[in-house]
């Protein structure tokens, strides 16, 4: 009942009602009580509504549904259902290693102070491209910069499976180099099957709830 969406809707609705009252009976602002009402309806509540609206939209922009609502991203969404555990995003998605409702955002955000804001800024430019620019083919989309191990280690750092797995013990300093981003988890050819959308036509897909 008291979800953030409901609170935002309530604040916006209440503000509209009070603002309508002030607009339609503007003569009430001649008195001090009316001025207070106008201050509430035209300054305090709208400011709160803007803040709540931005927060709401920012949260919604983290959802998988939001990211996949762009046609260009459909193949990347499909790749989450590939029935092959060597596909890194599919293995994470299907085994709940990442929250499914925030699948894209969980990996594709910079876990830094302004990482989330930078993501939104880039996202806005993507929307612009979607409608006014030249949309690249899904297989041609590249990351802005090489994937930083930091995003993997946000969850994996310190995990027993990460530290003790035999592949990670092959070299005595491999964990240290991976932790320092000196050796990429992905482009080191250890975990290099990522979305691989060009292979989707030949792939089989997992159907949830069916063996």
């Amino acid at each position: 009942m008291f979800s953030s969406l409901n609170i935002t809707l309530a604040v916006a609705g209440l503000t509209i009602l009070l603002a309508l009252l002030v607009v339609m009976r503007v003569d009430i602002t001649r008195g001090p009580d009316g001025r207070m009402l106008a201050f509430l309806a035209l300054f305090l509540l709208p400011s709160a509504a803007v803040w709540a609206g931005i927060s709401q939209h920012m949260e919604r922009a983290k959802s998988t549904e939001f990211c996949l609502s762009c046609h260009t991203m459909e193949d990347y969404g499909k790749s989450l259902y590939v029935d092959d555990k060597s596909y890194l995003p599919a293995a994470h998605f299907q085994n709940n290693r990442i929250p499914r409702d925030r699948a894209c955002y969980t990996c594709h955000t910079d876990y830094t102070m302004f990482g989330g804001l930078n993501d939104k800024r880039r996202g806005l430019s993507h929307v612009y491209v979607q409608y006014f620019g030249t949309i690249p083919k899904s297989g041609e989309i590249k990351l802005y910069q090489p994937f930083n191990n930091r995003e993997c280690l946000h969850c994996h750092a310190g995990a027993r499976s990460f530290l003790e797995t035999s592949a990670h013990q092959k070299s005595p300093d491999l964990i240290e180099k991976a932790t320092n981003n000196q050796l990429s988890c992905m482009s080191s050819r250890c975990h290099d099957t990522i979305h691989d959308v060009t292979t989707l036509p030949d792939a089989t897909f997992w159907k949830e709830g069916k063996k």
């Binding site: 603002a19 602002t29 609206g53 922009a61 800024r121 620019g133 910069q145 000196q182």
Partner: protein, 320 residues
């Protein structure tokens, strides 16, 4: 023009109501377009209404002063612009309106020698781990290569480039790749220059594992493994920086430096310490950069078909 206080409050209320209506509509649909609609339309309307209301309270005589309206509009512009932030650098059709410069049309020649004044520094001994037999067998070659200074008081492996004076033109990225090879556990060449976006072909001629880790200004540009002999990868630099440090994390003595530029006016000094640049007429700030000795800067005017000698001399002081 006079506008009574009540009219001003009414207008601010209408702006707020319209903005909130956009907010409510945008929350119905979880789609990037609704986010954009809120940012570009809803937010400016609400903020405009709030500012208009504050102004209505502040200006008692009711006179609509044009300068205040200008201030209000100026205040709203950033909100409108925020909706398109991050896209202007990609899609501005006017950005590339400057003509593309053909490097072969540069007729002025700037040439010279990079000299060294003082006693050649001694290269400290290197430790090569016992675990890597291939590199250990080639330790002598590695040690020779490490010394960046040649005999005879001239310096090789100096990057000479134009720092300013090249602006106002658009430069085409050469299609020819620059080659960086790993031979006997050293990078060849030690320094190289290329343009942003130009291909860098990276080869591994060694029967051992190398990784090629390029970093500039504290950020990793790429980090690729080349596990065996014959490995070949193509990389590009997405930004200009001077310099990028390229290194192998497994063989810490393996270092190369790449100067990446927005323009084609750069080169490196050869074994005799000589270099040559081809430039169009203009006034340039030319820099000579060495990995250990720092940089020297000179300003030069060149005219059409001119041949200007510009020598650089470094002293033995290490760079700070």
């Amino acid at each position: 023009m006079k506008m009574p206080l009540e009219t001003r409050i009414r207008w601010s209320g209408l702006l707020v109501i319209m903005g909130l209506a956009v907010l409510l509509l945008s929350l119905v649909w979880a789609h990037p377009l609704s986010f954009m609609a809120f940012l570009v339309v809803g937010c400016p309307l609400i903020v405009g209404g709030v500012l208009f209301f504050l102004w209505a309270l502040a200006v008692k005589d009711g006179a609509v002063r044009s300068n205040i309206i200008v201030i209000l509009i100026a205040g709203l512009l950033p909100f409108v612009a925020s909706g398109c932030s991050g896209s202007s650098d990609r899609f501005s059709s006017t950005k590339n309106a400057t003509p593309v410069f053909d490097p072969s049309s540069a007729t002025a020649r700037v040439y010279g020698t990079v000299a060294f004044d003082g006693e050649t520094p001694k290269t400290p001994p290197m430790k090569i781990g016992s675990g890597d037999q291939f590199c250990k067998m080639n330790a002598l070659d590695i040690f020779k290569h490490e010394g960046s200074l040649t005999e005879g008081g001239v310096i090789r492996n100096v990057i000479i480039y134009v720092r300013s004076g090249h602006e106002g033109r658009t430069y085409k990225v050469p299609e020819q790749p620059v080659v960086l090879d790993q031979q006997r556990c050293v990078y060849l060449p030690r320094v190289l220059t290329l343009m942003k976006g130009q291909k860098l072909k990276i080869l591994n001629s060694d029967p051992t594992f190398h990784n090629v880790h390029a970093q500039g200004e504290g950020r990793t540009e790429f980090n690729i493994p080349q596990p065996s002999k014959g490995a070949e990868d193509i990389q590009t630099f997405s930004r200009a920086a001077m310099p990028f440090r390229i290194g192998c994390d497994f063989h810490t003595w393996m270092v190369s430096y790449a100067g990446v530029f927005e323009h084609p006016f750069h080169t490196t000094s050869n074994n005799g310490g000589k270099y040559e640049l081809r430039l169009p007429p203009g006034k340039y700030e030319i820099v000579a950069w060495h990995e250990k000795l720092g940089e020297k800067v000179a300003t030069l005017d060149v005219s059409e078909n001119a041949a200007r000698e510009l020598n650089f001399k470094f002293d033995a002081e290490p760079r700070k």
